[in-house]
């Protein structure tokens, strides 16, 4: 277990020791050896860890009934639009002024058809205002609607202690314990809240330098740079790294920030099927053989954009295979660990540690502090040359204000807790608690007969609902039972696969999880959600095993 004396041995000694061990491929962090981990791999080329993912398909009648439901919604949508257009009903959406009727239309009515007619009817399940810290439980402001969700009003009451299954609070650092936040309060007094400058002008504080060194040490890389906003980390730095004449190979289900960054860069974008190594390899082969579209020249750079954990599916990237592919075809790898940093891995260092690989295998390690660290902002880490390049060329460094000091201090204290540098084993306990909670929750859901997507080790648990009518019913009834869930429907997910997404946290106690599971059991029977035809086994892979040669 963690040995506090080894940590306090002297900063320099610890640092040297870590460097040595990283070179030999075995990492010894906080005095814990890899041997304790169940499938500890020290060579790091291809992990022998069991990779169990589920993507079970529902019976055919479910898809048919889903389309029937959407059909009914669409028909009534047309009816209501007709009534609104002919003045039989009051119009609540934005419309132009009477004087501007002959101008070019400002609002394209049909584009918002889905929002107006389907989303509005169940809108009370989203954007619920909370009035406490989003820890394992929170307080909600009660609101009612008089005109079917077009407007809301607050009754003045609060619903207390709603179990929070929607916040990305993986390690439970969203807390208000005054003891834990001592250093943050001190820094707030010392530095204030605003920076009022960009990194390149006067916005680089000693706090940023300290944080960047700590992030680099945490991840086991040479250097890191932090940014004030997680979304902007992706969208502003990908254009700095690639440009015209480069090729981006991006996963089907990548987050909007990655898609936006890729589009802003001006490079050619090709999409490969989600987590499908064969599809990626075919794209790489075509890229190398055929080159750029008209001139047939070689691509200046080929970069693969993947995420550590995909937030809508709960699947984990197949990192060992992708790294072997990238080595074979000489491409670069950009790994977005927004949901996986702090949440997977034996000591919370992300998917790189989860697969037992060397952080040097990934060219650009990106992550956010919003999820596991209870703060805000993002980082990019990797070789010193890369980070130095980003310090001068990133749009964020030139134009965006830097991260504010109290937030930086929150990240520092969370990371120190996680690494064990504060002298306790609390960080490691949190990571292990999260792992236990995740496995327990997923196992029980599978046993109950729900269709749950994703990897067995990912704390993001999507439970499939399929039919549009059930989305609203599920969320409302869970709130009646004092459990707050996030439901997702059409634009964010494929049209037939709407889901409820649970985010397990280390701060959830076993009793809270049992309450949620019992409520799910009851609601699953009442709403008829238990579609699974298997009740404990993993569904066989939906695509054939990819065969590819491995180069050592």
């Amino acid at each position: 277990m963690a040995n506090p004396s080894a940590v306090c041995n002297g900063h320099l000694h610890y640092h040297q020791k870590q460097n040595n061990l990283l070179k030999s491929g075995i990492s010894k962090k906080n005095g814990i050896t890899k041997g304790i981990k169940k499938n500890g791999v020290s060579n790091g080329s291809l992990s022998k860890k069991a990779f169990i993912e589920h993507f079970e398909q529902a019976p055919m009648y479910v898809a048919v009934l889903t389309f029937v439901g959407f059909g009914v919604g669409t028909i009534f949508g047309y009816l209501r639009d007709f009534m609104r257009a002919w003045g039989l009903e009051k119009r609540n959406v934005a419309t132009e002024r009477e004087q501007q009727k002959d101008f070019v239309p400002l609002y394209q009515d049909f584009e918002n058809f889905y929002t107006r007619n389907l989303y509005m009817r169940i809108r009370d399940n989203w954007n619920r205002p909370i009035c406490s810290v989003p820890g394992p439980q929170f307080d909600l402001m009660e609101r009612v609607t008089d005109d079917y969700n077009w407007t809301f009003r607050f009754t003045g009451r609060t619903i207390k202690n709603v179990i929070n299954m929607g916040s990305y609070n993986y390690l439970g650092f969203a807390e208000t314990d005054a003891n834990a936040l001592k250093t943050v309060a001190k820094e707030l007094q010392k530095y204030g809240t605003g920076i009022c400058s960009t990194r390149q002008e006067m916005g680089t504080l000693d706090k940023h330098v300290e944080l960047e060194k700590l992030v680099a040490r945490f991840l086991g890389v040479e250097d890191a740079m932090v940014f004030g906003m997680g979304f902007a980390t992706n969208s502003m730095n990908i254009p700095a790294l690639v440009g015209k004449g480069c090729l981006i190979l991006s996963d089907e289900l990548n987050h909007t920030s990655l898609v936006l960054g890729a589009r802003l860069s001006g490079a050619t974008i090709r999409i490969f099927k989600h987590n499908n190594i064969q599809s990626l390899e075919n794209l790489l082969k075509d890229a190398i053989i055929y080159g750029q579209p008209r001139s047939r020249r070689a691509w200046r750079k080929i970069i693969i954009l993947v995420e550590g954990i995909y937030s809508m599916e709960g699947s984990i990237v197949r990192l060992p295979e992708i790294v072997s592919l990238k080595r074979k075809y000489k491409a670069y790898l950009y790994l977005d660990e927004a949901h996986s940093i702090g949440a997977v891995g034996a000591t919370g260092r992300g998917v790189v540690e989860y697969f037992g690989m060397n952080p040097d295998d990934v060219d650009v390690l990106m992550g956010t502090f919003t999820k596991s660290f209870g703060a805000a902002g993002g980082y990019i880490a990797g070789k010193k040359d890369l980070v130095d390049f980003l310090r001068t060329h990133s749009h964020s460094a030139v134009y965006a204000t830097s991260m504010c000091p109290p937030v930086a201090e929150q990240i520092i204290r969370a990371m120190k807790c996680l690494m064990g540098l504060d002298g306790t084993t609390q960080g490691l306990q949190r990571v292990q608690k999260l792992g236990k909670n995740t496995r327990y929750f997923r196992r029980r859901l599978h046993e109950m007969g729900f269709i749950v997507y994703g990897n067995d080790d990912s704390p993001v648990v999507p439970l499939l609902l399929y039919m549009p009518g059930k989305i609203g019913a599920f969320a409302r009834r869970m709130l009646e039972k004092s459990i707050g869930v996030v439901v997702v429907g059409f634009p964010a997910t494929p049209i037939t696969e709407s889901r409820a997404r649970f985010c397990v946290s280390a701060a959830h106690t076993r009793e809270m999880l049992d309450t949620v599971l019992n409520a799910l059991d009851e609601l699953g029977d009442f709403l008829h959600l238990k579609y699974s035809r298997y009740s404990k086994s993993a569904h066989p892979e939906l695509y054939e095993e990819s065969r590819f040669e491995l180069e050592d």
């Binding site: 009934l65 029937v68 439901g69 009914v72 549009p468 009518g469 019913a473």
Partner: protein, 76 residues
């Protein structure tokens, strides 16, 4: 107690129908309209079945029995 269970079961069936056809999200007047249309269509299907199926079954039976039963008669 039994009556309550039966009533709960029928309420559960009605609720499943609401969820499946997505009429759970509709406003009350839209729901009434949808229920009226559905019940009308369903009643028409039942009536058609009641009127036509026995006649068709009888005709089909006669047709097939003529085809198979008629052979021995003609050779004799």
């Amino acid at each position: 107690m039994d009556i309550k269970r039966v009533k709960d079961y029928f309420y559960w069936l009605y609720f499943q129908y609401l969820l499946i056809t997505c009429s759970y999200v509709l406003e009350p007047w839209e729901q009434s309209m949808f229920h009226t249309i559905t019940v009308t269509v369903f009643a028409m299907v039942l009536y058609t079945a009641y009127v036509f199926i026995p006649i068709h079954v009888r005709l089909a039976f006669e047709f097939f029995s003529q085809m198979f039963g008629g052979q021995p008669e003609s050779t004799v």
